[in-house]
């Protein structure tokens, strides 16, 4: 049997350089169309809605816009949203760092299960996440009777909103940190410990600075989602006006009542938050890349 070698190195090289040339000589028409389609898609689905939100909110003038935001129901929704975000982001900051630390730096049984559980809130519909809390804390729920007999209100009150938001946004910090910490390994921590540093000190002066940009990134995404969460919160909130409505919920209520300007005024705040998040995210991504650059060993 004879074997003919067709792909001699020379031919392969030739083929590659031909392919490269082709890329560059792609007819400008094709390129134009591809770029045009992408730009059009972005315009219709992203830029246009954003512009519409702001133009609708300001359609009756700035005075009307500001008045809509200063309304007591609006203020209460903004306040509740901020409180909820602060609490759930802080909780997830702590949980996320702890979970990422455990997964990245230790070997233990059930680790794969833990990683899967961390992702759970992402793979479950937010409505289901909300229902879980109804099943736990509702009048017919698991803890319901006990809570009622002790006069504790969780469901249809602020605690349930915070809990549901925390649950839904749990994965952001942990998922951002796990690959980062795994990549960094634990040698620096071991060096610090063997030089006599305590565990806490090692965490603060060695681990934390190494993960700070990733951590901030996770917190940013977590916050954006916490403020914007609709589904889970809608299920547990009870929609009590001026009490348990967050901004996204209020947007829907006002819209359904044909108060378009007020509805879009609140929506414009959320859109603004999204824009700020986007900018901060871009800056952070640059920082994270820079922090990982010069490792030549």
């Amino acid at each position: 049997m004879t074997i003919t070698i067709i792909n001699s190195p020379v031919t392969v090289e030739r083929a590659q350089s031909v392919a490269r040339q082709d890329l560059h000589t792609e007819p400008w028409l094709v390129r134009g169309i591809i770029i045009g389609v992408a730009v059009m898609f972005l315009t219709v689905f992203v830029v246009l809605p954003l512009i519409l939100v702001f133009s609708e909110a300001l359609s009756k003038g700035v005075g009307f816009y500001l008045a809509a935001l200063a309304d007591s129901e609006a203020l209460s929704a903004i306040w509740l949203t901020l409180i909820t975000a602060v609490i759930s982001v802080s909780l997830n900051l702590v949980f996320g760092v702890a979970a990422a630390w455990a997964v990245a730096k230790f070997e233990f049984r059930g680790k794969t299960l833990l990683v899967t559980l961390i992702d759970l809130p992402f793979s479950v519909s937010p409505v289901i996440s909300g229902l879980v809390f109804v099943l736990l804390f509702g009048a017919q729920g698991f803890f319901g009777p006990w809570l009622m007999s002790h006069g504790i209100n969780i469901l249809f009150a602020v605690p349930a909103i915070v809990l549901a938001t925390t649950f839904v946004t749990f994965p952001f910090v942990a998922r951002e940190l796990i690959p980062l910490m795994q990549e960094q390994g634990s040698q620096e921590e071991e060096a610090a410990i063997s030089l006599g540093a305590s565990g806490w000190r090692t965490f603060v002066v060695v681990t934390l600075p190494n993960i700070k940009w990733g951590l901030l990134y996770g917190v940013l995404l977590c916050n954006a989602r916490a403020m914007g969460e609709f589904g889970a919160v809608s299920v547990v909130s009870g929609h009590i006006r001026g009490e348990t409505n967050t901004m996204p919920l209020l947007v829907e209520i006002l819209y359904n009542e044909y108060q378009l300007v007020a509805s879009f005024a609140i929506a414009s705040l959320l859109a603004l938050l999204a824009l700020l998040t986007l900018i901060a995210k871009t800056i952070l991504e640059g920082q994270i890349e820079e922090g990982q650059l010069p490792r030549d060993d």
């Binding site: 060096a191 610090a192 063997s194 030089l195 600075p209």
Partner: protein, 346 residues
């Protein structure tokens, strides 16, 4: 400070990374731990440093149980294979770290810390790099900073895990010399891990050879080279010609050919080990082995020749002085001047 390691066992699942390791390191000694990758060197070092715990066995420093203390209380300086410098701290802060984290009662003043760091950076000859960050240093510089950082806490023991493993040959050679000199200056009990036999033989007073989680031999560099205790040590340290032989009734046979050499106690299927330069070349008929020269290369004072042994044409590589010129095609005999026979075919 003396280190005593007794019957250490370390298991990962069913796999024994360390299998009953016994070792004593004398005060002020520089000991080399030599073995192929995966032989358990790092595992042993980490247990001594307190970064890992053994499944069985004891570790004591100056007769005092070290396993009762955490890594931070053992005063062991550890130099990692991949440096493990704090990447977000300057070189200065890296070296100062061990001094800054001391308990308040014994912590030095800022001025004292500065003076000490300066002294250490001078010692490793890198004081001009104090304000740089680890990512801005070469591999050799990083490793010297890692060493300065480990020395800052005035460790009672210094453990170096393949410190020069990731560096190129020339830098390694320089650092090896430098480390030797440094050890003569500061005399701290040290264990130096390497998988490079030349490095071990050059740096240390005593060499411990490990394989598969067990210690194969402990001795001076001369000892382990000239009198290898096991077949593994013979083939791992220095290059050897290895031939499968059979010993019966005190007779050593290669295939069907009797070699007329002493079996030295081995019986049954065995291996004959000869250093490349211990093969004496002679005219046909005057040696234990016969063969034909296939190829000759000369470097410096020696010539290296590939010899095809008569019979099954096994190729062996020998080193010979240049005063007896060899040419391809010559028929010659070979007589081992020094050799070892180890029983077993593994």
């Amino acid at each position: 400070m003396t280190i005593e390691v007794r019957n250490i066992v370390k298991q990962y699942g069913a796999f024994k990374a360390l299998d009953n390791v016994d070792l004593r390191v004398a005060d002020g000694e520089l000991l080399a731990l030599l073995g192929p990758s995966g032989s358990g060197k790092t595992s042993l070092l980490r247990i001594i440093a307190g970064l890992d715990w053994p499944d069985a066995g004891e570790v004591s420093f100056d007769g005092e149980n070290a396993l009762a203390r955490g890594a931070g209380e053992r005063h062991v300086g550890f130099v990692f294979q991949h440096y493990a410098l704090f990447r977000h701290m300057s070189v200065f802060e890296n070296v100062a770290f061990g001094l800054r984290v001391q308990p308040r009662a014994v912590r030095k003043s800022e001025a004292q810390i500065r003076a000490r760091v300066k002294e250490l950076l001078d010692l490793v000859q890198l004081d001009w790099l104090a304000n740089r960050y680890p990512s801005q240093l070469s591999g050799g510089q990083r490793q010297r900073i890692a060493l300065a950082r480990a020395l800052a806490i005035e460790p009672r023991i210094l453990l170096l895990d393949e410190p020069f493993g990731a560096l190129d040959a020339k830098v390694r050679k320089e650092l090896r010399q430098w480390l030797r000199t440094l050890h003569e200056e500061i005399h701290v009990t040290s264990i130096f891990v390497t998988h490079d036999q030349e490095e071990a033989l050059e740096v240390a007073n005593r060499v411990v050879v490990m394989d598969k989680g067990k210690i194969e031999q402990i001795g001076t560099p001369g000892d382990v080279y000239d009198n290898p205790a096991t077949a593994f040590v013979h083939s791992f340290i220095g290059e050897s010609i290895v031939l499968p032989v059979d010993v019966s009734g005190g007779q050593v046979k290669l295939g069907h050919r009797p070699l007329n050499i002493d079996a030295g106690g081995a019986v049954g299927p065995s291996k004959l080990f000869v250093r490349r330069h211990d093969m004496q070349i002679g005219p046909v008929g005057e040696g234990a082995l016969e063969g034909t020269v296939r190829r000759v290369r000369t470097f410096g004072p020696i010539q290296r020749a590939d010899i095809a042994l008569s019979g099954d044409d096994t190729l062996v590589e020998i080193d010979a002085p240049r005063d007896r010129p060899l040419t391809a095609g010559d028929a010659i005999s070979l007589q081992p001047r020094r050799y070892r026979i180890f029983a077993g075919q593994e």
